[in-house]
Point group: C2
Chain length 229, copies 2
């Protein structure tokens, strides 16, 4: 059907595909493959050689890395329009991250050949990919500073503000429902610590929480807390 053609894909406006020529897009469109992934299923594992990139059409995936002590660190969450695996494809290396769906997902798998030929021939596209990666790198630098200079409580406040960006329902609860363990893996702390801080934030009126449903209540105070005031 028509909407499955990349040329019309609504998601394209968020990523580097928009810099492709008609011919390149056609090649991508002809070689791509749409996949449905259930919550909890894995898209790829750390160390895999990826045959292509994945473009998220719907749902959210966690990108994480296993640490020596056996805990997963969630490096980022990828949502609609974001492309996963491009670092690996571009650098022609095995991927350094694992991807697991945290909600049901629909993704397009684009074989690396069509990406690579565009990378070699179309500077606009390459530059667009480069800009996206420059952006990712900046965000990674920010995360490094947060992780090393902020307390667990501050990082938890940041995490709530981050989760809010994935949308909220009419009651203000996050669309994205992460387990306490996943949240602790975003923040880089023990699960018990995450749970305790969630209780505390709730008691103080910074957030709303009922079971797995979580949300921001007082954004300003959360932001102040995250900034260290």
């Amino acid at each position: 059907m028509e909407e499955s053609r990349c040329e019309n894909c609504i998601v394209r406006q968020f990523n580097a595909l928009r810099a492709m020529t008609k011919e390149e897009l056609k090649a991508v469109s002809d070689s791509k493959e749409t996949r449905t992934i259930r919550k909890g299923e894995s898209l790829f594992e750390e160390g895999d050689k990826l045959g292509g990139v994945m473009c998220v059409r719907n749902g959210v995936s966690k990108l994480s890395k296993l640490s020596a002590n056996g805990k997963d660190q969630i490096v980022k969450l990828a949502t609609k329009g974001q492309v996963m695996g491009q670092r690996s494809v571009v650098a022609e290396e095995a991927t350094n991250l694992s991807a697991v769906a945290v909600s049901d997902m629909e993704v397009c798998f684009i074989p690396k050949d069509s990406i690579n030929s565009a990378l070699h021939k179309n500077p606009d596209f390459t530059l667009e990919v480069l800009r996206h990666m420059a952006h990712d790198l900046r965000e990674a630098d920010d995360v490094i500073v947060n992780m090393s200079q902020k307390t667990v409580k501050q990082r938890m406040a940041e995490a709530f503000l981050y989760l809010q960006r994935f949308g909220v329902d009419e009651d203000g609860y996050f669309n994205l429902r992460l387990s306490r363990e996943d949240i602790s893996n975003v923040v880089g702390t023990a699960t018990e610590s995450a749970i305790r801080i969630i209780s505390e934030f709730k008691k103080k009126g910074l957030i709303i929480a009922s079971g797995k449903r979580l949300g921001v209540k007082d954004e300003k105070k959360l932001r102040d807390l995250a900034e260290g005031f």
Copy 2:
């Protein structure tokens, strides 16, 4: 003189400039400017709009970011052949990092115009820059995991192994002499904690230390410690 021409620059083999055409290199060579920076002097500040990139010919610079609590976090050290500021130039944003020389330095300043025109015209060059950035991004991901999952002691061990990569003298001491405060800013800890751990490592025979001169003594044990054994 001949060696100041980019075409012959020995440093070129380490960075993306090698993917430039003869004409592009000539343009870079004609517009570039060599600068000498003394230890402690600043190359650029967080928030600056950079007019170009800097290529390190000699010496080492720390790239850091000020955190909300007033401490600097050193994100990486840039040495011979590495290019600073490309993220900012590529993304056309103000830089997110400050650069300060930690030893006397010689750098080439390359105005962004000659970089940008090559980025738009030469896909090989753009792709090479992209690959370098992909590499940086991978390293940043690793740092995130280390920062959030490892103890201060493990991170200190990592820091010693990292500093070793900048070369050692005949006695095994690092070429690069960082203050205890700089080391604490690499590791993301209090200066006193860094000092204490250095004393401890020395006592245990993991490292050698006399004043500012530091070095690795037992690489294997340091590595085991960093990995959590």
